[in-house]
Amino acid sequence: MCGIAGIHAYLDVAPPVDRGELLRMTERMAARGPDGSGMWFTDDRRVGFGHRRLAIIDLSEGGAQPMQADDGRLSITFNGEIYNYRELRVELQAKGRVFKSESDTEVLLQLYAEHGAGMVSRLRGMFAFGLWDARKRTLLLARDPLGIKPLYWADDGWTVRFASQAKALLAGGAVPRDPDPAGIVGFHLLGSVPEPFTVWRSVHALPAGTTLTIDATGPHEPVRYYDVASALAERSASGRHDPAGARSRLASALHDSVRHHLVADVPVAVFLSAGLDSGALLGTMADLGARNVSAVTLAFAEFKGLPLDEAPLAAEVAARYGARHVIRTVDRAEFENDLPALLDAMDLPTIDGINTWFVAKAAREAGIKVALSGLGADECFGGYPSFKDVPRSVHWLRQLSWVPGLGALVRRGLSGAIAAGLGLHPKAAGILQYGGSWAGAYLLRRSVYMPWELDELLEPSVVEEGLRRLAPLSRIAAALQAGTPLGDFDRVATLETSLYMRNQLLRDADWAGMAQSVEIRVPYVDPFFLAALPPGDVLAALGAKDAVAEAPTTPLPDSIRYRRKTGFSTPVGRWLRETAGESTPQSIDFSVASRTWAQSVWRAGWLGPTAA
């Protein structure tokens, strides 16, 4: 896990790559790679790669990057881990390919030499890389199928630049900071910026599951090699709808995924909450023979004695599987102290990531370099309320939504009533207008603000242009395009996986983890794991969460299994109100907290000259 950057001056008139710019880009990502750094340039200076290394596999200099192969024809700068690199290495050696190191990076180079850009579909892992092919004079950028590792790029028409962080591109000094209304509106709507947008017009996120080739004419259209909807449709068509054996298939898939995610030359820990997902990871690690595993749990002083306090139950799970348990308590003072650094590390505005910041900080303090996280399980197993709410909303309201103008009329009426003190959440006004379509119901479920509320937060011209460019409903609906119709469970799983998880959870896990130089691995976020699971309708009927609890040979304790789901919460809303001198309600209203936090994050100043 590392930080990568690169510059390719593809047009003849473009000045050669500026070493200083590349250095500024990589230095902005110093925390991503404290174990080493490297730079590489072609002889003609048309291409330059930078790298910051967090050494996890092949700790020797043999794994240093940027790395070359094929007599210097191929060069790579790579961020991530390839969990099946040993299998691929054996396969390539059988074809006569000779390796100089034990690293997964070299496997990428040799695999490209064998298969070209199509090699990405052979990879099991999380990755983002830039690969220069000197013979073809092409630069290949690639990102893993589900978007675990980020990759941003900018093209000025002469030169293309890429980096693991959007802010690193800006730090180089050559990328303009024109605001992008689509990204700004996206953040205010959803609490995170949907790819491929950022809040800067010139900086693009390479979409998950795509590759991008740059030749002498510049970047081509990104090529998609994986999408969630098609993968789930294919799984559904696999014919494994027999519920018998579904639990064992699930357990087997989890064991296989965790086994792959334990590949490392340093100890692998786990982030442990009081939920089923991380507990099942720990239990599975124990099944696979992992000993003395460190398990890190985050606790908040405000939650002590409340059901929200995860520490007591997590301690029970840790003890059950013989883990070394680290409980880290965070209070308001530490939050306020860390806030400037946290906002600086936050690569794009987001309403989440605080918990990851602190749990990763705790891991670093405990000497941990790699940790597994239960992120992604709710998307696989239907753990969110959206799995019930969204289909119900669509089925109930679909026909009403066909009445022209009715939804908007009701929304305007309800908005007025809510503003007058009706006691409903402001979003509730949109139930009829949005709730009858999959995209609308999902937007309503996941949004921080709804489109009609944005004019109170942003300039109307920004809202208008942003909504036009973002086209939120079309964008959400596009995620569901799979060629064959999906079932209700798979529809929501697709939306949560390819929108919320990708743009919010995974991005936050990356910046917040890497800011602490901790690699976060996510065994539930793995196309091979997804494909091995039973189809969505079987998972829905199975009560997959319960099956997860039984996946380890020693199942999770009943206290965890029958605990009411709370989500992983932080008292940030309360802290912010206290900091602002406002009164604090006895109960914690998380919806209001996310709106308060969203405003605080946005006010941190994303468009000014100091943003990077």
Partner: protein, 366 residues
């Protein structure tokens, strides 16, 4: 069978100006690569001109309706057409309609102010419908992408190219004398003197001439070009720097290399150049250049080997930059090499190959 382009342009052969020159360079580069091109201009008379192989130019029709009807007729006769090239956004509705009628790819070329200033909704949608948009400078591309919703990969930059006649060396014998210039250093500006193009920066230069003459008493500012703003500029020059500015009027293309070679510094602190090919032509002749901040100037003055870019409103900076560059002698003409025709032609052909490799678009797109 050769690939076919139907080109709707404002002007090309038989016309003067940067855009006409650019179109000629582009079409000749593509025709070299086995492409057949039919040019439909609104201005310019190519009668009697020997056009390169593969290129034909129809008679110019200025009237919009007449041009549109003639374009449809010519397009139908020219089938099968692979690409419809739109040389100016004001022709985009016609180019778009013909491209869709013929099932051809639709290529929009932009130069500068026409897409900086015309940001109407229809224009935006017609640009967004393009299979490829090319711009002459990075700045034009950047501005375009702030208001047009196109994927970044679909907007490519193809910078202007410098003609081979622009090379360093002494002017032809007697040329300098024919201009009746004094013995002192010569600042040169070559630009249209148009009331609509006052961003060229003549007046800021006039305003520092007196100060310059304190250091270089025989310094002359030579202004080449003509236009409807000439009388006003002459009056301003007479007031701000009496006797220091020499207006040459229109200078034939054939004389430009010698004019550059005669001068000591090219000064045009223009703030709105789409690209600024004159900077490169001057630099190719060995002149250092002073350009203005804004527009596409940065693309034509890539580094200090060619010259410097200043804010013309900052008179002190303008003055010190001129003085500094006058002391540095001639520019390094190798800095201009990437802008030569060889590179331009290769880039143009690669871009065209990329365009025709795309499948034809069936949907209307707007």
């Amino acid at each position: 069978m050769a690939s076919r382009i139907l080109a709707l342009v404002g002007d090309c052969y038989g016309a003067r100006g940067g855009i006409a020159r650019y179109n000629q360079d582009l079409f000749e580069s593509l025709a070299d690569g086995d492409v057949e091109i039919l040019i439909l201009p609104r201005l310019g008379d190519a009668t009697g001109l020997a056009l390169p192989r593969g290129i034909r130019q129809a008679a110019a029709i200025f009237n919009r309706l007449g041009f549109s009807i003639a374009a449809f007729v010519a397009a139908w006769r020219f089938r099968p057409v692979d690409v419809v090239f739109c040389g100016h956004v004001f022709m985009a509705p016609l180019a778009f309609a013909i491209a869709r009628l013929l099932g051809a790819r639709y290529w929009v070329q932009t130069h500068g102010t026409e897409v900086w200033n015309d940001q109407r909704n229809l224009t935006r949608r017609l640009i967004e419908a393009a299979d490829m948009v090319s711009t002459v400078s990075r700045e034009t591309r950047r501005i375009l992408l702030t208001w047009v919703d196109l994927p970044a990969d679909r907007v490519r930059v193809l910078p202007d190219t410098v003609q081979d006649v622009f090379t360093p060396g002494p002017p032809r014998p007697g040329f300098r004398e024919s201009l009746d210039l004094g013995p002192g250093p010569v600042l040169l500006t070559v630009a249209r003197l148009s009331a609509s193009e006052r961003y060229k920066g003549h007046e800021p230069v006039f305003s520092v001439l007196q100060a310059l003459r304190e250091q270089f008493p025989d310094l002359t500012h030579v202004v080449a070009g003509d236009g409807d703003d000439r009388a006003r500029l002459e009056a301003v020059a007479a007031k701000l720097a009496p006797g220091a500015v020499k207006f040459l009027g229109y200078v034939p293309d054939a004389d430009l290399p010698d004019l550059y070679r005669t001068a000591d510094l090219y000064v045009m602190p223009s703030t709105d150049e789409g690209f600024g090919i004159v900077y490169l032509e001057a630099a190719a002749c060995g002149l250092r250049v002073v350009g203005g901040r804004g527009g596409g100037t940065a693309d034509a003055i890539p580094d200090e080997r060619v010259g410097a870019i200043v804010d013309p409103a900052d008179r002190k900076a303008l003055l010190s930059t001129i003085v500094g560059l006058l002391g540095q002698g001639r520019a390094d003409p190798t800095a201009v090499e990437p802008y030569r025709r060889l590179h331009f032609a290769a880039a143009a052909r690669a871009l065209y190959a990329r365009l025709v490799a795309q499948p034809r678009r069936k949907k209307s797109g707007i």
